[in-house]
């Protein structure tokens, strides 16, 4: 009895492990992260001043540097999002996206820690919604997904794989 239960437990654990490390999970992660980053980046590109204001509110970037940050970050999101989605330079783009997710986590975490009463600025559609623990958990999930893609992506349905086959 005992052995059987252990075996079943072990089997279930293997299944979960397989799911986490499966290349198809990475494919879903790539599509999801790519789409989210394209959406987030383009929204900010359309409203530069609004995003700069959101950056100021976090009080993490010196005021004089805020614009540089607000100009570059959305494009970095958009470009790496597109590359990740189509699977071109996917290694580079997933590394950048993972780093960006870590940055967002840190920013939101510190805003929550300091009790700042500010809007997230994550998507231009966030509007006046205040940054809460929900945003932190959402980003935690996306960060985990990014790590999954970073480690287990095998380049299914990607331009990288196409190029490798040809050349």
């Amino acid at each position: 009895m005992e052995g059987k239960r252990n075996a079943r437990k072990k089997g279930r654990r293997m299944k979960i492990k397989k799911l986490i490390t499966h290349p198809y999970t990475a494919l879903i992660g790539r599509i999801l992260l790519g789409a989210i980053f394209i959406y987030a980046g383009s929204g900010k590109i359309l409203n530069p001043e609004q995003f700069a204001q959101a950056v100021i509110n976090y009080r993490l970037v010196p005021l004089a540097r805020v614009n540089l940050f607000a100009i570059v970050l959305p494009w970095l999101e958009l470009v790496s999002g597109i590359f990740l989605l189509v699977g071109l330079f996917s290694r580079g783009s997933i590394i950048i996206i993972t780093l960006l997710m870590a940055l967002f986590l840190g920013a939101i975490g510190s805003a929550l820690w300091r009790g700042l009463d500010i809007s997230c600025g994550c998507f231009s559609t966030d509007g006046i919604y205040k940054v809460t623990i929900v945003y932190f958990i959402r980003d935690l999930f996306l960060f985990a997904l990014a790590l999954q893609v970073l480690f287990y992506d095998r380049g299914i349905l990607s331009i990288d794989t196409l190029r490798k086959r040809r050349g």
């Binding site: 609004q50 540097r65 607000a70 100009i71 959305p74 290694r91 700042l116």
Partner: protein, 167 residues
């Protein structure tokens, strides 16, 4: 080839991809920012320090506000957070938190002519939200913006009427 040989090659390639994506995104960002009409200046202009003389004209004392706040045409903005505003504010004041200016300004400022006298305040002498808000208002075209420097503290300590709840 063994993994030990491949790893440095892969790391190097990933790094090159990262740098490439970053440079590509950055150049796109600066190019579009340069050509679009609502591009941001590369260095964000500092909130201009107000000279002592200007200060005199821009500030308003409790005495003056006492007479003014009952007049029908006067507009008072509370630059503090919605929570602080709900706990108590100057009767007739509207809440326009500095940190939510980007989201709330268009709604609150609707139908207010640019030459309308606007009085702003925050917690008291030590807070800067009122000054920052007045800067934003002036930047948006309002010419008659005045600051009640004593703020909520002075108002409350002098036993002036208080209104509670969301305005």
């Amino acid at each position: 080839m063994g993994a030990a040989v491949l790893l440095p090659v892969m790391l190097k390639r990933s790094l090159v991809e990262c740098i490439g994506i970053f440079l590509f995104a950055t150049s796109l960002a600066f190019l579009t920012n340069f050509f679009r009409s609502d591009g941001l200046p590369l260095i964000r202009p500092k909130l201009l320090p107000v000279s002592a003389e200007d200060n005199q004209g821009n500030n308003i004392s409790l005495q003056t506000l006492k007479e003014k706040f009952k007049q029908p045409g006067v507009i008072i903005f509370d630059a503090r957070s919605p929570e602080e505003f709900a706990e108590g504010h100057i009767p007739g004041a509207k809440n326009l938190p500095y940190y939510e200016f980007a989201e709330k300004a268009s709604g609150v400022l609707k139908n207010i002519p640019f030459d309308q006298e606007i009085i702003v305040y925050c917690e008291g002498l030590e807070c800067s939200n009122a000054e920052d808000l007045s800067f934003l208002l002036k930047e948006n075209g309002y010419t008659q913006v005045k600051i009640f420097e004593g703020g909520w503290e002075e108002w409350r300590e002098n036993g002036m009427p208080v209104k509670r709840g969301e305005g």
